[in-house]
Amino acid sequence: MSSKSDKIVVALAGQPNSGKSTIFNMLTGARQHVANYPGVTVEKKTGSFRQDGARIELVDLPGTHSLTSYTLEERIARDFLLNDKPAAVVDVVDASNLERNLYLTFQLAEMDVPLIINLNMMDVAEKRGHKIDTQKLSQELAAPVVPTVGNKGKGKKQLREAILSTSKKGQAAPFRIDYGDDLEPILDSLEKRLSEETEISSRYPVRWLAVKLMENDEEAQRLVMKYSQKSGVILKSAEEKREAFTLEHKNSPQKVIAITRHQEAQRIVEASVTRKKEITSTLTDRIDQVACNRFSGPLVLVATIYLIYEIAIVQGYRITEYTWPVLAWSRDLIASLLPSEGFIFDPFFRSMPIWVVDGTIAVLNYVPIFLILFALIAILEDTGYMARMAFILDRIFRHFGLHGQSVLPMVIGGLYVGGCAIPGVLACRGMKDEKARIATIMIVPLMNCLAKIPFYVLLIGMFFAAYKGIAMFFIATITIIIALSIAKILNLTVLRKKESAPFVMEMPPYHLPTIQGVLRRCLERTWLFVKKIITIVILVSVIVYVLIYFPGISKEKKTHYISQSDQTQQTFFKKTGKDNPYTGLMTGDNLMEFTRYWRDYKKAKMGAKGKKAKEAIDQEFREKNFQFFKIVKRGKYEVKGEMIKDKHAKKVYDAYKKLSKTTNKLRREIKEETIITSYMGRAGRFIEPLTRWAGFNWRVNIALMSSFAAKESSVATLGGIYQSPPGEKDTLEERIKEKEKGWTPLHVLAIMLFMAMYPPCIPTLLMVRLETGSTKWMLFATFYPMVLGIIIAVLVFTGGNLLGLSGMQAMIAFYILALIFLVLMGLIKREPESS
């Protein structure tokens, strides 16, 4: 059923920490494909290889301890085996932990799929003094047993051969567990009854179904209901048998089945493994004596978190300084291909594509940080330290409906200052507890990402200059306080009905990750992300562009600006004078050409650092157009080693400077008016009566709304809105202060708090959609922060005003209030745990 003509589908199963992904990589090499299992967010990896002419497609199942229907991963693994009917399944077994791993092996065997046992990590087992008789084991399990050392590539050939031969031959007499004299007769009669239902018996292994019904497995019951008309009778009889058994033996069949499996595993291990020495203290034990110790544990943890922050965020950001020029260069390249700019109006097909490119490279700029973060996450996962982090921190986070594992996503998202929500949301992937996972995904965007920082720095510098340190500390920590409270509120409300998994967590032995494995994973994740976001970012930035630039200024206004521009040009020519030899160079289209030359020259000079670079630019522009060059150099230039002072060129320079200033002023006015009259501008004005309670005027509204596409643009948009005519050199701070004379620190506090709660940027929302697998959650993640932000801003601004508080007083008061709220939320009892 599985193989069409040449393709043989084989599944790869195994418990967590059995080295399954290493084996997957070893078998398939570079030919891999990552997708999600249909309808869920669990990663589905497939890869293929050729063996003796046959093409084998390997599907990596989620790592699970068991195959019940309680967890998503287990259901996925099980459903794949049942519905896709692979030709064989490779069970990756940790040879040093054989007994526990066999527990899964038995369940795989029960599903009637030809089995290949892969004894992985043989080197570890040997080091621990375990000698495994593979022949005996193979005999016991009625399946081929192939030993490997995955991270060293040992046993690859043998494993590939075994896969091919087993998937071709199948298994003659699969291993079958004997559940004992009490249970077997019941299973037997159930099996017989199920065999009569052809719909069922043709689809599913009846023995497996009988065992599952005795285990009271809900999914199995659903299968019976779906494919049998007499499901009522069958399920009722199964239930009666289950109850009778429990009454008679004082133990549920579920328990007896699990116990029997463990006992069988023990028996097989005793028969096939000889232990030479007793393990006393492993390296893992010794590391954990420090890493999980009451005193040094938290220190190691803080140091690790700090290191992640330092390497990825601080150093990663430094790398972007080197990668940015490349992006800027490609932007300029694209810009040069577009229709050229106008004197005061730029054509649509120039400004729109540039806007889109800017939005895209703003996100691409963070790729170095993503790469480092994804690599660090992979290292933390592979080494086993992730479990220790959860172990140490669980107590704190549990009070807020989170999990010990929530801390890493929060750190990456910007727990202190600077992070990125995109990898933060992705880092939630490993969390087993669905409830805590969703809660974490929802609060990660509340952390302070890198793009929010310039906004804070700008406003704090202006209005809290005397208390810079305190204000920065406030904004950095208040977000954590609010986020934790929100997590608890979500836990008690919208997440109430979500599945909450038991904590029960394995602490795997420490493990040195392979460079190849880490690289592969970090590149894979980065690529997957880049591929997904680019299209969305482009789409959204087009929409935002339209909202900000349309419908555009009125016709009358346009003619008004054009006539003003014409006037200034006339003034320019009057000033240069008719007899000036350079005037002829500037007439007609040449003026526009000179304008472009001028703008390019200024821009190049601004970007150049050091004397040498500046000289190089001079040389370049001199070669480009020597006449123009004379003007931009104010008439001072060199000819054959001699400095020349050209009065005429100087005159043109002075006149053009004035022209340029007025033109820039016009351009700014046009831009401002375009934004004000745009759809977004109208919306900003429309909601002003409401946002006034939070201290936001329409200008702030526009800035906040437009930064939705990417927060990087918040400062840039402010720059676009706040411009006062005189003096190009005014800083943004000065311009804001000039326009917003009425602003107090209280206004600014409200704005900053709103920004802290601001909805995630588009790429993050996309990640939320990807990781929750639900558009509803994505929409929730968009709107709840807005509501929350406006509530907090109103509370601070209107409350502060009513009480007559200063900005600092309001800050402290709000901080204390938030802390009290947090403690109260922490004290609310969680709902009783399922028993």
């Binding site: 526990r100 527990y103 463990h262 999980c292 904590f503 602490m507 795997p508 399922s834 028993s835």
Partner: protein, 74 residues
């Protein structure tokens, strides 16, 4: 007594699991079955959760979960 009452470095034997459903199944799957020896390795820095050693591997449980495991001290 229950597993959450066992002190550090003490060893005991599991008698029964008093939890049904997902929690009970998870404990059974992880090898918490009657007759198995289990040892308390350490508490987390904030006391809860607790790390145990059973059958050669390490596993951590919250106190509320360990309460569902009945044991006899060895």
């Amino acid at each position: 007594m229950t597993l959450d009452e066992v002190k550090r470095d003490q060893e005991c034997e599991i008698v029964d699991i008093t939890s049904e459903g997902i929690m009970g199944q998870r404990l059974l799957d992880m090898g918490f079955i009657p007759g198995t020896r289990i040892k308390v390795i350490r508490n987390a820095p904030l006391v809860d959760p607790v790390e145990f050693l059973l059958k050669g591997y390490h596993i951590s449980l919250r106190h509320s979960e360990a309460k569902k495991v009945e044991v006899n001290l060895l």
